[in-house]
C-alpha cells in the first residue's frame, strides 16, 4: 500500500518533470564495444571534484576568512571536530589527487587522440577546467594563513608583477596596499564562489559536449553491439572511483594535513616553497633571473597553454594512434618529462623548515616561567586575564616581552601589578612558549636535565644568545655550539670568560649558577652539534 503510494507520487512527478526520461537519457548512453578501463579517468576526476566540493562546503561552516581568525579556525576544525582532521585531510590531499587525476585524464585523451574532430571544443573546455583546478589549488593554500600560505602567496603576487600590466594584476590579486585581510577575503571569495561556479559550468559543458559527440572509444572499431553506460561501463567507473576514494581516505586518515606556524609577516628567515604541483614553475624561475624572468612566468607557460588550447587544430589529421602522431606524442613527452624533472629539482632544493611542533629550550623554559605565582595572580580561570595554558596570543612579541618585564604596563593604575618583573631572557621564553600554545603544539616531554638546562638558558643566556632561531642576537648563535666546543672548554668559559680569553665580553656566571645548573647547561650545550 505504502509502496504503491510512493509509486503514484513518482508517477505524478514524472508526468510533471519527465525525470524518468532524463534518467534514462543519462544512464543508457550507448557505449561502443572496446571501451576499456582507460575511459574511467574522467569519472574518477568527477568523483574527486564532488568530494572536494562537499568537503569544502562543510569546511566553510567553520573556516573564518580573516587574518586574526583563519589559523585558529583551521586548528578548531582539525582538533575539536569529530573527524575534522579527516575532513581537512580529504580536502587537502584531495587537491593533489585532483591535479594528478586531471593530468592522467589529459594524458589519456592525448594518447588516444580523443580531442580530434568533432571534439575540439570538448577538449578546450577540458583545458579551461584544468586552469580552474589550478586556480583552486593556488587560491586554496592562502586560506589557512600559516607561514607557507603567507609567503608562497607573497611570491605568487610578485611573480604576477613580472609581466606586462604586472603592477595592475598584482594590485588586483593583493586587493590592498599589503598582503592582508583584503587579500585573504578576495582569494576566499574566488575559492568558494567564483571558481566553484566556473567549475560547475565547465564540468556541465564538458559533460554535455561529451554526450553530444559520444565517447571517442577504442582506436579501431571493435566488433560487438554497443552496451548501455549503466551498469556496464558504470561498473568500471565505480570500481576505479572506489579504489581512488579508498586511497584518498587512507591518506586523509593516516597523514595529518600540514599546518605551519601562524603567518608572521615580520619573519625574515622563512624560505617559501609552493605546493608540489607548482614546484616546476617555481624551479623554472631560477633559470631566468632578472629581466629574463617573464620568460619563465609568462612566455613558457603561455606557450604551453597556447599549444594545449590549439592542439586539436594543430593536429587535425585523422590518425588517433600515438605511434602515428610522433610530433604530438614526442612534444607531450618532452613537456611532461620537463615538468617531472623541474618538480624533482625543486623538491630537492626545498629547505627543511623547522617543525613548529618541536620545542626548543626557550619555550620549554617559558612553560616553567609561566607557572610563576606572579602570573597566576591574574591568569587564572575566572581571573582578570585568561589562564596562560589556553591563551590565544594576539599581541606582538615586543608588547608581550615588555608586559612580562613590567606587568604594570598592561593597565597602569587599574590594579596592583605583581612585585618585580622578569628579565629579558625570561620574557622571550614566555613569549616563545605562548607561540607554541597559539599553534597548539603539544607540550614537550623532556628529561629533567634538559628542562633544567632550558631554564638556565632562558633565564641567563637567552637575552644575548639564540638557539633554534629564538633568543637574543648580541652573542654567538648556540644552536650548534657543541660542534665548536666541548664540555671541558664550555665550563670554564661560562664560569669566568675573561680567564679563558682576556678580551671576552661575556659576563661571568660562576657566581650566578649553582653546580647542578652549571653541569646541566654545559652538558646540554656540548650536545648541541
Amino acid at each position: 500500500m505504502a509502496l504503491s503510494r510512493v509509486d503514484a507520487l513518482l508517477d505524478w512527478l514524472d508526468s510533471r518533470t519527465g525525470w524518468r526520461t532524463g534518467r534514462r537519457h543519462l544512464l543508457e548512453e550507448p557505449i561502443p564495444a572496446g571501451v576499456g578501463w582507460w575511459f574511467v579517468t574522467g569519472s574518477v576526476l568527477l568523483l574527486l571534484l564532488a568530494v572536494q566540493l562537499i568537503t569544502g562546503v562543510v569546511l566553510a561552516m567553520y573556516y573564518v576568512p580573516s587574518p586574526e581568525h583563519a589559523y585558529d579556525s583551521i586548528r578548531y576544525i582539525m582538533e575539536r571536530l569529530t573527524f575534522g582532521r579527516i575532513l581537512r585531510g580529504l580536502h587537502f590531499f584531495g587537491a593533489s589527487f585532483i591535479v594528478v587525476a586531471a593530468v592522467i585524464h589529459m594524458v589519456r585523451v592525448v594518447a588516444l587522440g580523443s580531442y580530434k574532430k568533432p571534439r575540439e571544443v570538448t577538449w578546450i573546455s577540458g583545458v579551461l577546467l584544468l586552469l580552474v583546478i589550478l586556480g583552486f589549488a593556488l587560491s586554496g593554500y592562502l586560506l589557512p594563513w600559516d607561514q607557507k600560505a603567507y609567503w608562497a602567496t607573497t611570491v605568487t603576487i610578485n611573480i604576477a608583477r613580472s609581466g606586462p600590466l604586472g603592477e595592475f594584476i598584482a594590485g588586483i590579486l593583493k586587493g590592498g596596499s599589503t598582503l592582508g585581510s583584503l587579500t585573504l577575503l578576495r582569494w576566499y571569495a574566488a575559492h568558494v564562489f567564483l571558481l566553484p561556479a566556473a567549475l560547475v559550468g565547465f564540468v556541465l559543458a564538458h559533460l554535455f559536449l561529451m554526450r553530444r559527440h559520444g565517447i571517442s572509444g577504442a582506436l579501431r572499431p571493435v566488433p560487438g553491439a554497443p552496451k548501455p553506460f549503466y551498469p556496464y561501463h558504470a561498473l568500471k567507473d565505480t570500481i576505479a572511483g572506489a579504489f581512488v576514494f579508498a586511497l584518498l581516505i587512507t591518506f586523509a586518515s593516516v597523514f595529518r594535513a600540514p599546518l605551519d606556524s601562524i603567518a608572521d609577516p615580520s619573519d625574515a628567515n622563512y624560505v617559501p616553497r609552493p605546493e608540489w604541483y607548482f614546484l616546476s614553475l617555481f624551479q623554472l624561475l631560477k633559470y631566468f633571473p632578472g629581466p629574463l624572468e617573464p620568460v619563465a612566468t609568462i612566455v613558457i607557460p603561455g606557450l604551453v597553454l597556447g599549444v594545449l588550447v590549439l592542439l586539436p587544430f594543430l593536429d587535425h589529421g585523422p590518425d588517433r594512434h600515438f605511434y602515428k602522431r610522433p610530433l604530438v606524442t614526442g612534444g607531450f613527452a618532452i613537456i611532461g618529462l620537463s615538468i617531472i624533472v623541474l618538480t624533482y629539482l625543486g623538491y630537492k632544493d626545498t629547505p627543511a623548515h623547522a617543525n613548529p611542533a618541536v620545542w626548543g629550550p626557550l619555550p620549554i623554559a617559558g612553560a616553567e616561567f609561566a607557572k610563576d605565582k606572579r602570573c597566576e595572580r591574574c591568569h587564572v580561570v575566572g581571573g582578570a586575564a585568561n589562564p596562560l595554558v589556553n591563551t590565544r596570543l594576539t599581541r606582538e612579541p615586543a608588547w608581550l616581552i615588555a608586559h612580562v618585564r613590567d606587568p604594570e604596563m598592561i593597565g597602569p593604575g587599574l590594579r596592583e601589578p605583581p612585585p618585580g618583573g622578569m628579565n629579558e631572557g625570561q620574557a622571550r621564553s614566555i613569549a616563545s612558549y605562548l607561540r607554541k600554545v597559539r599553534i597548539g603544539a603539544p607540550a614537550a616531554s623532556v628529561s629533567d636535565n634538559v628542562r633544567r638546562a632550558s631554564i638556565v638558558f632562558g633565564r641567563s643566556c637567552a637575552s644575548c644568545h639564540m638557539i633554534d632561531g629564538e633568543g637574543g642576537a648580541v652573542g654567538p648563535d648556540l644552536t650548534r655550539v657543541g660542534s665548536r666546543h666541548d664540555a671541558a672548554w664550555l665550563r670554564p668559559w661560562i664560569t669566568q670568560p675573561d680567564a679563558v680569553d682576556p678580551a671576552a665580553n661575556m659576563p661571568a656566571f660562576g657566581e650566578v649558577l649553582n653546580d647542578a645548573d652549571m653541569t646541566a647547561i654545559v652538558s646540554y650545550l656540548a650536545n648541541r652539534r
Partner: protein
C-alpha cells in the same frame, strides 16, 4: 547459465553497493564534522563568586562572573550574572534566565520578589514561581563553600 538480464542486474547491484559505501564513508566524516559541535558538552568551571560572610540573608545578590570560554574557533570573555541567596549556612545560586522565554529577571527588594520584565513572571527569593507564565522555577547552579569563599559551577 547466466543470462544477460541476470548479469545486468548483478552489475547494477555491485555499482549501487560500492556507491553506497563511498557515500556512507563520506557521510560519516561529514556528519561527524557537522554535528559534533552541536552536541559537545561545555566545560564546567568552579569560579569564586563572593565571600559567605559578606552576603545578606534571604536576599538575592547579583554577582557577575568572568569566564574565558571557547566559542568555536575563538575565545570569548563571558560575563555571567547569577543571584546568590544565603539562607543560614547554605547558599544557592540562581540562573536569572526566566524559564518562560529567556528574559533576565530582576530583584525587586521592596516586593521581595524576582520579576521578569517581559511577560510579568514572578518568582520568590528562592526562584520558585509565584505567578505569571513561567512553567518552572529558576534553574540553580551548583555551589560549594571553601574557607568562606562561595564557588559557583558555570
Amino acid at each position: 547459465m547466466t543470462t544477460e538480464p541476470d548479469r545486468r542486474q548483478f552489475f547494477a547491484r555491485v555499482v549501487k553497493t560500492i556507491q553506497t559505501a563511498i557515500a556512507g564513508t563520506l557521510g560519516v566524516v561529514l556528519g561527524g564534522s557537522i554535528l559534533s559541535p552541536s552536541f559537545l558538552r561545555r566545560d564546567e568551571h568552579w569560579l569564586p563568586a563572593a565571600s559567605l560572610s559578606g552576603l545578606p540573608e534571604n536576599a538575592p545578590t547579583s554577582i557577575t562572573l568572568r569566564l574565558v570560554r571557547e566559542d568555536g574557533y575563538s575565545q570569548i570573555v563571558d560575563h555571567r550574572t547569577v543571584f546568590l541567596v544565603k539562607t543560614g549556612e547554605h547558599v544557592i545560586a540562581l540562573d536569572p534566565t526566566c524559564t518562560h522565554l529567556g528574559c533576565r529577571v530582576r530583584w525587586e527588594a521592596e516586593a521581595h520578589e524576582l520579576h521578569c520584565p517581559c511577560h510579568g513572571g514572578v518568582y520568590d527569593h528562592l526562584g520558585m514561581v509565584k505567578s505569571g507564565p513561567p512553567p518552572a522555577p529558576l534553574p540553580r547552579l551548583a555551589t560549594k563553600i571553601e574557607n568562606d569563599q562561595i564557588l559557583v559551577q558555570v
